[in-house]
Symmetry: C2
Subunit: 248 residues, 2 copies
């Protein structure tokens, strides 16, 4: 793990790093050096990156309001990572299939399952490395990710026992692998659905929520399109993680 930059603003210390070939960003409280503290891993959306505005804005709130550490990494083919030939080829083929009349949602889900086979071990390595840092430590872990971050997050949360609570959503159960992985998730989940989502059919979002095996899971649905998550849901997310990620 190699740190490439460090800045501080508004009480938040931001460190950019590279772990093997994965670029990431780590946010921690600027004033409080000692771990362990809860850590949230955030998965960014399609076409976005580790420092996309909706990632950094949430990261700052988790740090300043909860005292958590937050980490995000670029997904292959995104952010500071080079173009990924296989993914680009599959994406182009999918565009052609949709243009020829194929249904979009299952193609998205298949694509996300393909990418997840790489991101799950990458994110596990990021957790390993970040939790070895003195100002993070081995506290409880949360996961936050919607849209692509849900498609990649469901298999990650299913595979990673350190994750104790997850916010997921804007994703569907159209790939059978997605519902199968969801059935392996037993930690508390807050699941976000946009009622008029133009990318994820409503019944597939509801089906993915339904497939989660968690004893405590709560679905929050709001009017609006894929990108229109209301601001008050971030308040709810902050409280959800505060409730579930406590140092014992």
């Amino acid at each position: 793990m190699r740190f490439t930059s460090e800045t501080s603003s508004d009480g938040v210390r931001e460190q950019l790093f590279v772990l093997d070939d994965v670029p990431g960003a780590l946010w921690t409280p600027a004033a409080d050096a000692a771990g362990p503290r809860p850590l949230i891993l955030m998965g960014h959306g399609g076409g976005q990156h580790k420092k996309a505005p909706d990632i950094t804005r949430r990261a700052h709130r988790f740090v300043t309001e909860c005292g958590f550490a937050v980490v995000a990494a670029d997904v292959p083919g995104h952010g500071d990572r080079p173009p990924h030939e296989e993914y680009d080829r599959v994406a182009s083929e999918n565009q052609a299939r949709v243009a020829a009349g194929a249904e979009l949602a299952p193609l998205i889900a298949e694509f996300q399952a393909l990418v997840a086979r790489r991101t799950v071990p990458e994110w596990q390595a990021v957790l390993d490395a970040v939790q070895r840092l003195g100002h993070v430590g081995a506290g409880p872990v949360g996961y936050w990710g919607v849209s692509l971050g849900c498609g990649l997050g469901v298999p990650f949360v299913a595979a990673e026992p350190r994750v104790r609570a997850a916010v997921l959503g804007l994703g569907g159960a159209s790939a059978s692998s997605s519902a199968e992985n969801a059935a392996l998730i037993t930690v508390p989940v807050e699941f976000l659905v946009q009622w008029d989502d133009e990318r994820v059919p409503r019944e597939q979002g509801l089906a993915l929520f339904d497939a989660l095996a968690s004893f405590e899971k709560t679905l929050h649905a709001n009017p609006g399109k894929h990108g229109d998550l209301p601001e008050f849901e971030l308040d709810s997310t902050v409280r959800f993680f505060s409730r579930h990620l406590r140092l014992t």
Copy 2:
């Protein structure tokens, strides 16, 4: 309006009253006499009454945490009101129909629409009377009601312009009157669905949420049966009303 008793506990003043033939309960902050303040009208569940434990518990939180006034009245045939011959007859007929194989949900919805023709004007009269009291005053009004309180609440909120925000749920759109009234509701709504509700089919709860015309509406669905609302939803309700019922 005739007050029949007054007690105080834990910072909450409770006054029982009768308005015409409607018995009610009013809760206000014991220490703070001056209105106007926001007022929440609560509709109780079937077979319950104005002082049912889940009503008084919520009322105490709205008073102590928000400084609101809260009022609840017995529905005809419930609590301190005499048996209601017509409703009892319809209920018996419905039981017989269900025993003979009829679907339960539409019968419940029809029955609630029948009762609402009486409770809507009763509750409007309660609002009139309570808002004339010096320690309540004419502040913004909220409505809280699930199950029977949703079946009666949807037509009430649709008809009553003083209501600025409502928490509804555990009810469905099986009666066309319910969806029609929901389409007249434009205030912010927090809508509660129990994912494994044995009384309200899931798709009918979702359909009632869908029918609300509100620009801001948020669906919260949780695993469990009709009576199993999780405790953290009350926290959410407190915040929802705090956000929407402010004195201008």
